[in-house]
């Protein structure tokens, strides 16, 4: 199970979403054994949790990327878009 969890972490958001869809479909067919059903259920809950978590994880920020010395990109907070002001701007729109 731990192994499986790790494998799922390696999967992309789309892949996990697709997997969840496939699980739901498979379970709804009602042809799987009880053991498989419960296994699918457990996996489905883990998948949906990880998907939701990933959706929540990102934090809004605007970063500026420039090519630095030795071709290494330098990344710094951008002065172009003041994140706060822009966030306020679209919140005000709503």
């Amino acid at each position: 199970m731990a192994d499986k969890g790790k494998k799922e972490l390696g999967m992309s958001f789309e892949q996990r979403l697709e997997k969840l869809e496939a699980l739901a479909q498979n379970m709804e067919q009602g042809t799987s054994s009880l053991a498989d059903l419960l296994k699918d259920y457990e996996e489905g809950m883990l998948l949906s949790q990880s998907l939701e978590k990933e959706l929540e994880q990102a934090r809004a920020r605007m970063l500026e990327v420039k090519s630095g010395k030795a071709g290494k990109p330098s990344i710094k907070p951008s002065d172009v878009v003041e994140q706060g002001s822009l966030l306020d701007e679209w919140k005000a729109e709503e």
Binding site: L20, A24, A58, V80, V81
Partner: protein
Amino acid sequence: MTLTVEELNEYVRRSLASDPMLRGVCLRGEISNFKRHVSGHWYFTLKDANSAISCAMFRQSALGVSFAPRDGRQVKLYGSVGLYVKTGQYQFYAEAMEPDGMGEMFALFEERKQRLAKEGLFDPALKKPIPLLPKGIGIVTSKTGAVVHDIARVAWRRNEGMPLYLCPVLVQGQGAAEEIAEGIALLDGLPEVEVIIVGRGGGSMEDLWAFNEEIVARAIAACATPVISAVGHETDFTIADFVADLRAPTPSAAAEMAVQPRQGLLQTIVGLRDRVEHAAEFGVGERQYRLSTLERRIGECDPDKRGQAMLSRLREARQRIEALCEGFLRDKAHAVEQKKIRLRASGPEATLLRGYAIVLRQGKPVPGAAGVCAGDNLDVIMSGGTLGVSVTAVAKEEGFWLTKEKKSLE
């Protein structure tokens, strides 16, 4: 003041070189007398209706020109004015060359589009899908202008957590194409960037020209990260649009394509989770129902219950057998009674009644007088009782019955 020719030429060269007006010049005209030297330098004349000027473009600059110049082409040259001291000829040193005029640009655009299409750069099979939830979005556009604001506003409205990585570049003029290409490669190298938007706001075909340059097309084609192009307005098409994995009509639309609404994604996930939950509940419930049904059916086949049924059948059978036996026995008893009566009628009792007696010695019948001696104790059974008799004398007379008979006969 007397000067050598060289001194004069050198003086004029320097004064030309020091004039800021003659540096960073953009010169337009028609190419004629175009010559490609073995060294890689280009020499030609640029002319318009009434004038002409000698032009040189050195190998390093010529390498950056992405189309083939030839006589008759309308071009724009970027460079400076100088003097070639050896010949005293004044000329234009071109550092960059661009097609000039709508007709020229359109012809070039078509030629390049066809060539790259033939090469397979626009192959739909090469188009990469845009991820549903990228870790971050790279943006290659100008640091100034509305594009970056538009993208940020739309992206954050749809998913307020989306990190944006801006690579500020020139989007028009000399060096713009190179910067755009570099920016794409730079963002492609960042693992946090999972989709790249390349674009700029609206403008003339000339303004958008950098996005028609081959170097940009190749950078997009080489980019492993999916690229969304958003150049100008909906009606503007550039080479970059054909190579990109997805073409957005405007920068705002590009942001919509790159960022799925967080709420929608959440609903999809929750909806799927509910389906999984329901399917599991239903699956377990259905099995529970099947189990209880089976339990009931099995309960009905309980050996105890079955035994009870057998037992009652057995009892019933026994009762019937008993009833039958009773009847049979009654019949038999009756028959025996009848026989007894009949026996009695023909048995010794009747005979005894007629006056006969049975003689027993020690419980055994005595068949005749022959075995009897005087002194024997005999039992004489008669009708109505038994006599204990002692024999006083035995007269063995053979013809008792005979004499009797004789007597009676006599």
